[in-house]
Every structure is written in structure tokens, then in C-alpha cells.
Amino acid sequence: QFSALTEVLFRFLTEPREVERFLTQLSDFATMNKISLGPLKSIVKSILLVPNGALKRNLSSEQVRADFIALGLSEEKASYFAEQWKVHSPTLTRLAVGQTLMINQLVDMEWKFGVTAGSSELEKVGSIFLQLKLVIKKGGQMENVYIELTLPQFYSFLHEMERVKTSLESFS
């Protein structure tokens, strides 16, 4: 019974957007075990505080278990929860890092390149242009930025980005 509830909890923690599903599963659990939904919800809320706090403070599974025991949970249940925690913590940590503030995050990049055939000043041109569309997340909204690069600029941009990659890799 406890393990079923734990499963539901962890599924929600690892996929925090699936709120609907979480609520449906909770009410299913309530009906199956003949508990009313209201008190179940408040219990679940308090239980959820523990993993969230643990994540913020980078607690090990040992410490999570100790916390639960201090809160009055039986040893068996606390150990089970701590085990589940150990299993899921990489995913949960990754999610927390993903939630960390990012300024103007680059979300997508589209490009096209072509040849300028002519213009109002020059009848025949024949020069290559590269156009990039960067999709940037500013606060909650997406913003599109369009830029044009010449060929030499493109090559030096590529070169710089490769240097960034080397730098990032040396720090991971």
C-alpha cells in the first residue's frame, strides 16, 4: 500500500508537469483504499516537502531516511522511501538543474543560405549570404532574432563555437 503511494509520488516528482495524471492517480488510490481524498492530499503535501527539501540541500539517501524516521515514519517505510530516492535522484537532480535560472536561453536555431543575385545598386552580384534565425526564451516568451552573416563571419563563428565546446568539456 505504502509502496503504491510512493510510486505515485515519485512518478509525479520525476515528471512535474503531469499534474493531471498525478491527481487522477491519487484519487484512484483513495478510492481503492477507501480513504477520503482531502486528508490524503494534505498527507501527500507534507510528504512531498521532504524530497523537495532534500533536493535543495543535496541530501544523501541516508539523510532522507533519517529525516523520515525523525518525522515519525516506521523504519521499514523510511528505508523503502530512501531506496526509491537513491534510484530517482539523478533524474530529480537533473530536473532541478534544468529549472535553474537561464538568461535568454537559446532554444532553437534555423538557417538558410543562398546567393544574392542582384540589387538596386548592382545589377549582378553573386555573393553568398547566410541567414540565421535564433529562437530565444526571454522570461516566459519566445523571441525570434534574425541575423545575416557573410561567409568569413560564419567560419570564424564556427571556430569560436568549437573553442567554447572545448572549454565546456574541460569543465564537465
Binding site: 533536493l55 535543495k56 540541500r57 543535496n58 537532480t93 532541478a96 538543474v97 529549472q99 535553474t100 535560472l101 537561464m102 538568461i103 535568454n104 536561453q105 537559446l106 532554444v107 536555431m109 538557417w111 543560405f113 544574392t116 540589387s119 538596386s120 545598386e121 548592382l122 545589377e123 549582378k124 552580384v125 555573393s127 553568398i128 549570404f129 547566410l130 541567414q131 535564433l134 530565444i136 532574432v145 534574425y146 541575423i147 545575416e148 552573416l149 561567409l151 563571419q153 560564419f154 567560419y155 563563428f157 564556427l158 569560436e160 563555437m161 568549437e162 567554447v164 565546446k165 572549454s167 565546456l168 568539456e169 569543465f171 564537465s172
Partner: protein, 198 residues
């Protein structure tokens, strides 16, 4: 924009009054570089020395502007082509001088025309920095490297005239985003070399 009318070029004969060949050269350059709307002040400066009246000055400046722009537009590179633009009884030496000046300046004028083409905002400069995120409100200890990229973008030159607006855009990229971006850039490079080799 680039058509030259026969009658127009006759106005160029006012240049015979110019103090020196360099003065003519200078005026040619200024007339080419100035947009059609900016020829007024140029005409005023030419007036006392070269032209008897403001109308003559305006005609002179406008003719020079049309002539130089026309040559650059059509991409004429041979002296004969340029000489053939002048009317029949045009002063011989002046014709040769003007042709010579135009040919001298042709490639730099072509570059100038290309640089002032309409285009999407152009990348002018880029800088980057790698930071390591050590903690945040959602997780207290971590060591996640991230890249901050600053792009300096200049709005369309034609719209800004002489005071181009340069804006700086700072973008953050995670390692995954950078890898995907590099993949895309690599594909562009491959396609570019495929096109170049055809």
C-alpha cells in the same frame, strides 16, 4: 535609379572650370557616395567655383551621381563602354579624365554598394564566456558549466543612414544546446563546401 539621360551628361562640362584633376576626383567620389536625397548640400559647395548658378550646380552634381551609379550598376569595366555613354560632342579630355577616375574607383564603389545593400540585421561582433553555475534556488550545490554568448547586431544599414544602431544580444547556451548548434553549423559548412565544389 540607374538610367542616365543623354542631356544630363552635358551638364558635366561645367567640370571644365574645376581648379584641378583632384578636385574633379573628389567631387566624383562624393557624388557617388551620397544618396540621391543628399545631393543638395554637395551642389551648394560646388556652386561658387564650378557653376554659374544653383541650377547648374544641381544639374552637375546630379549628372555625376547618375553616371557613377549607372556604371557601377551595369558593372561596366571597359573604358570603351564608359566612353560610349557620353554624348557626341563632349569635350574629349574631360571625357577621358572622367572615365579614368571612374575606372580607378570602380572596385571600391562596388564594395560600398554591396555593403549598403538591404539585408537582415547583420552580425558585427561576437564574444563569449564560460561560467560554472555552483548553486541556485532549486539546488544548493552543483557544478554546471554554461556558455554566455554576446552577439553585436547592426540593424539594416540602409535604414540607419549614417548612424547605425548596434544592439547587443546576450544568449545563454547549455552544453546540450551548444552541441546541437555545432551539429547544425557543421552541416552548413558541409553544404557550403558541396556548393563551392560544384
Amino acid at each position: 535609379m540607374a538610367a542616365v539621360r543623354e542631356g544630363e551628361l552635358a551638364a558635366l562640362q561645367s567640370l571644365l572650370k574645376a581648379p584641378s584633376k583632384d578636385a574633379v576626383r573628389q567631387l566624383c567620389r562624393e557624388c557617388f557616395s551620397s544618396p540621391a536625397a543628399g545631393l543638395g548640400p554637395l551642389a551648394q559647395r560646388a556652386c561658387p567655383g564650378l557653376a554659374a548658378s544653383p541650377e547648374e550646380a544641381e544639374q552637375l552634381v546630379s549628372a555625376l551621381h547618375s553616371l557613377t551609379r549607372h556604371v557601377v550598376y551595369r558593372g561596366l569595366t571597359r573604358a570603351e563602354d564608359i566612353l560610349s555613354l557620353f554624348p557626341e560632342n563632349f569635350h574629349q579630355n574631360l571625357k577621358n579624365l572622367l572615365t579614368k577616375i571612374i575606372l580607378e574607383n570602380l572596385s571600391s564603389w562596388r564594395n560600398e554598394a554591396q555593403a549598403s545593400q538591404i539585408s537582415l540585421p547583420r552580425l558585427v561582433d561576437m564574444d563569449w564566456r564560460v561560467d560554472i553555475k555552483t548553486s541556485s534556488d532549486s539546488i544548493s550545490r552543483m557544478a554546471v558549466p554554461t556558455c554566455l554568448l554576446q552577439l553585436k547586431i547592426q540593424e539594416d544599414v540602409a535604414l540607419c543612414g549614417n548612424s547605425p544602431v548596434v544592439s547587443a544580444l546576450t544568449v545563454e547556451l547549455s552544453k546540450e544546446t551548444l552541441d546541437t548548434m555545432l551539429e547544425g553549423l557543421g552541416r552548413i559548412r558541409d553544404q557550403l563546401s558541396a556548393v563551392a565544389n560544384k
